[in-house]
Symmetry: C2
Subunit: 188 residues, 2 copies
DNA sequence: AATAGTTGTCTGGCTAGACAGTCATTTTTG
DNA sequence: CAAAAATGACTGTCTAGCCAGACAACTATT
């Protein structure tokens, strides 16, 4: 048996890429990512065949982590508003706790190297939240509006809220609340 | 007297860049933009010193055109809701009429070559709409929320609405209405 | 326990291709 | 013909990905 491929190094590359993307943008050289990860530039390609694949996997990993965090510790019972609020808090808290991850994800989301499949998988990760949203929408003023549209609106409000939270971190919690009330007024 | 620098060619480059960015992304070679504009690649640099400068000017031009279009034919009188709705319609209609311009602008907005100055100028172009929004917000449930935050929310809702309109153009007008009602519920 | 064999990982110098911007020259215009 | 615009071949630079060799981990054989 050969030396096993180190899982640690994979994570190191993923983390390094996140940091480097934030500071240098998506056009950052792979050599820099490798250096930041503490490996030789050639080694990067034993973990990810191409730069594009690295970016796709990174995007999906970030999105999945975000979605998982959002629905963590969410009780199955309780009224929908409280449940959505819990998710909202988890979501926005994550974004202030890991601003780099959010920034990198934002860059990647826009980049055209991210395939449709990756995007679809990312969307799937968000499914639990969308399901919750659907439940709430059914009795509200948006009951007739197509679900993807409502989902897009929620996402965009979350995005705007997190942007503002990042800009004025001291009042982050307060801004999160405002964003949630705005969302609630929209869908209920 | 020398030959005057052709304004037509400048526009041709701007238009070409818009199209090329949409189809090839921001990393498209300048040579391709020049070819698409019907000029030699070297000539591009008599109009724009660098690629970055081209992108900055393009971004600002698009943003300004969008903002100008939004407030076109808007009567100074009339109730605020109607006035905002007019702007909203102008805005969203422009985005469906010139999808490429919107797409290119979206790419540029995220790109880190766009300077803070350019962004500030773009923001200034949106001032009339923000002013209208401020007036409305003052008597609504967001009267205590910082104006930049409210502005960001409006923008993000517009973005989500235009995205959905672009995806389902047949019902574009309907979707625009839904988006506006959502916005109105938010700020009033 | 020592050795050899096997297999896949890791390395970093290297290269082929791409691309922004230059510049000597040509063309256009007043 | 003067002065500026337009041209396109060219160049210096940068970088994704390659590859040949070094190395680590483990097994089989003695």
């Amino acid at each position: 048996m050969p030396r096993p491929k180190s899982q640690d190094k994979r994570s190191a590359i993923i983390d390094a890429a996140t940091r480097v993307i934030v500071s240098q943008g998506l056009s950052a050289p792979t050599a820099l990512i490798a250096k930041e990860a503490g490996i030789a530039n050639g080694s990067l390609f034993t973990y990810f065949a191409t730069k594009t694949e690295l970016y796709n996997q990174l995007y999906l990993e970030l999105k999945t982590e975000m979605a998982r965090t959002a629905i963590k510790n969410m009780p199955a019972d309780g009224n929908p508003r409280d449940r959505l609020f819990t998710a909202w808090q988890n979501w926005t808290t994550w974004s202030t706790k890991y601003p780099d991850k959010r920034k990198a994800m934002g860059q990647l989301a826009v980049c055209d190297e991210i395939t449709a499949e990756t995007r679809a998988a990312g969307h799937r990760a968000m499914q639990p939240i969308v399901g919750l949203l659907e439940e709430i929408r059914a009795n509200g003023s948006m009951s007739k509006v197509p679900m993807p549209f409502v989902g897009g609106l929620m996402n965009s409000i979350a995005e705007a809220t997190m942007d503002y939270m990042a800009q004025d971190p001291k009042k982050a919690k307060e801004h999160a609340k405002v964003g949630f009330e705005a969302l609630w007024r929209l869908i209920s």
